[in-house]
Assembly symmetry: C4
Homo-oligomer: 219 residues x 4
């Protein structure tokens, strides 16, 4: 489906995606992150740096089966999201994972005070893949994304995030209340598509609620 | 009127417009699309790809009179909008067709629950062309864009879209509820101008309604 | 004050400003425009073209004292704003005039239904120049921009625009209801600064009104 | 933590940051500013110029201990924020100071009519550093940024700004009512991170208040 660009350098890809996501407001203030899998290597954006100015030699490389570092850029710290990213690679066979601090994700977790973000009858739902049925969602289906509560330390999210992954096997993402979004896909293109469609759905669902419409029902 | 740039490569044009429209939020999540006619060839952006990263050799080419493919990029799928684009080329003599998933188009179809989007007394109306009278709309006229209901499969829109084209011969666009916009023009410049003016009108009409103003009447 | 860049080509400047203003949403849909004076020549962006893609050889050149065309790009039409731009050059000694279709200007003319846009106690007021007192506005002064009613044809605005210029000699801009803004300055830098400050003030004044604050009074 | 890029030219850095902040809407209309310290030199963006078009030879250089100018670009004026920037360099040992006219900062000072901007339980709080405890804020702590009243002349802010710095020793920023933000950090990366996190918090706090949520309390 999506083009493979087989010879693309995954470190350039991580740097380029960080730059793009910075412009979208997903990784400002050094928040958020991107990781991509190629073969048995995981490529991770470093922590605490200006995401729009990452250089290729600042990208961490991890051996997938063992989790050992293959390359650690000098003077840089690996992201605290590392165990969360690994959960998606291991439990879901993800090809890429994106962590976004988008304001739309943040606001959606307030506008949906329960444990689920739900929308239906919105065209952009079709851009998301149901991981159980191995097909795209239909326009008239309910898309459900689980919402977990935030913790003071990012690594403490691991348990509730993996539980949400197991409780919602069809979902390609988990929202974290007052924090942001973890979203993945089989390839970096799929992960990015899921992230963009969800961000659109978060934003329009909030706009709909503000204007008196119910995004969880057809009419 | 608009400059022709006769020697412009239509594949570069399609790629460049997709990049521009991505920045405007019209084709994110691989949604939306662009197609351009040059001579008896139609050039179409592929389906399911990152619209801001399309390469010229990833653009489909279709023979206009017959509808047969002249060039199919390997491993790529032609857009599902293909029959909808062809309707505008065949029934309206369009030179280019744009399919936008703009949030402004989406919200406009909610704020106008009936079968028509209507605005008047807004300067940007003058950027749109009345296809019956073969002239630009006046500032004090009513601009009417038909709204059709969405379907689960994009190709199932073809019938209602062509009916809307015939019911509203003056209109240069059709809105699809909870989905987006199909808009066209005699040239790619006209199609883009129509798309930009309509997006402005959708957004301001929603702002006006939220602030208590009626966009369908002068005062 | 502002840097002169004396050797800058005014046609490149017009093209570059149009590109920048397109990104700000001021000249989308081929609307709006830019004109710059250098010596006794006026340089004008053409009408009805994609403002972000203007080439230097598509810029009109007019002899200032006589108003005669020095250069008319083949196949292009001069902007209908021409007489409005000339009013600012002639009556106000402007070095540049910008016509913006910004949504913020549009909405401000609705949120201020009378004949004046008024704000005070906002830092960005200080970026505007009082043409009578020949100094910048103070933070605690009232900034007043006249609002004129729109007409069906742009040239029919000339009379009311020149009257507003004479009624409001301190103002560096005129708002047109449900249309946009004409703004000028002694140099292109001043005109651009005025345009940016006003756009900020239009947008924040509308936000303030929506949130229950009165932008025309200190508290 | 953050990468040092030791050989980076501070004048290029100032120009590049101004360009980036212009795109974010922080330094439009020639407002706002940026200054960076390297060794015993302070580099300052000039006043009254288009911040997105600054050239390296237009950047002021000041000797830190004495405050004397080392380089004054011909025909340009040093920013009026100079004494305010120096307060952060001297009293807080800042490595960089940013002055932003962001609309989000402006609106936050209206939505918080008292003397403090307060938020808690928002992930982006963790991007800010508590200068007293020499550590990042926790997610569940209250972040407090002092708000001072605006004055007609920027230099008259110096006294109240330095007082706020001494009254709020943990804070890395001071808001100015109806004006904007002064924010600093040990390095330019830290200052930029603080600025981005605060801007996110200002914007979301305003959105939360508009939607009926209290950003100063957990629930």
């Amino acid at each position: 489906m999506a083009i493979d660009h087989k010879d693309e350098d995954p470190r350039e890809l991580v740097a380029s995606l960080c730059k793009d996501f910075y412009k979208l407001g997903w990784v400002t203030g050094t928040g958020g992150g991107v990781s991509v899998k190629k073969g048995d290597s995981i490529f991770l954006a470093p922590s605490g740096v200006q995401k729009e100015r990452i250089k290729t030699d600042e990208v961490f490389i991890v051996d997938f089966p063992t989790g050992a570092f293959r390359f650690e850029p000098e003077g840089l710290k690996c992201t605290e999201c590392y165990p969360l990213f690994m959960s998606a690679f291991r439990l879901r066979g993800a090809g890429a994972v994106i962590h976004s601090h988008s304001q739309n994700a943040f606001m959606a977790t307030l506008m949906y005070p329960g444990k689920e973000f739900v929308v239906t009858h919105m065209e952009m739902i079709k851009g998301l893949r149901n991981a159980v049925d191995q097909r795209a969602y239909r326009y008239d289906e309910k898309l459900v994304i689980p919402i977990i509560e935030n913790t003071c330390f990012e690594k403490d999210l691991t348990e509730s995030l993996t539980r949400a992954m197991s409780d919602y096997p069809a979902a390609c993402a988990v929202l974290v209340r007052r924090h942001g979004l973890y979203v993945w896909g089989d390839t970096w293109q799929k992960a990015k598509t899921h992230a963009e469609c969800l961000d659109y759905l978060f934003e329009t669902a909030c706009k709909m609620k503000a204007a008196g419409f119910d995004p969880t029902a057809p009419e």
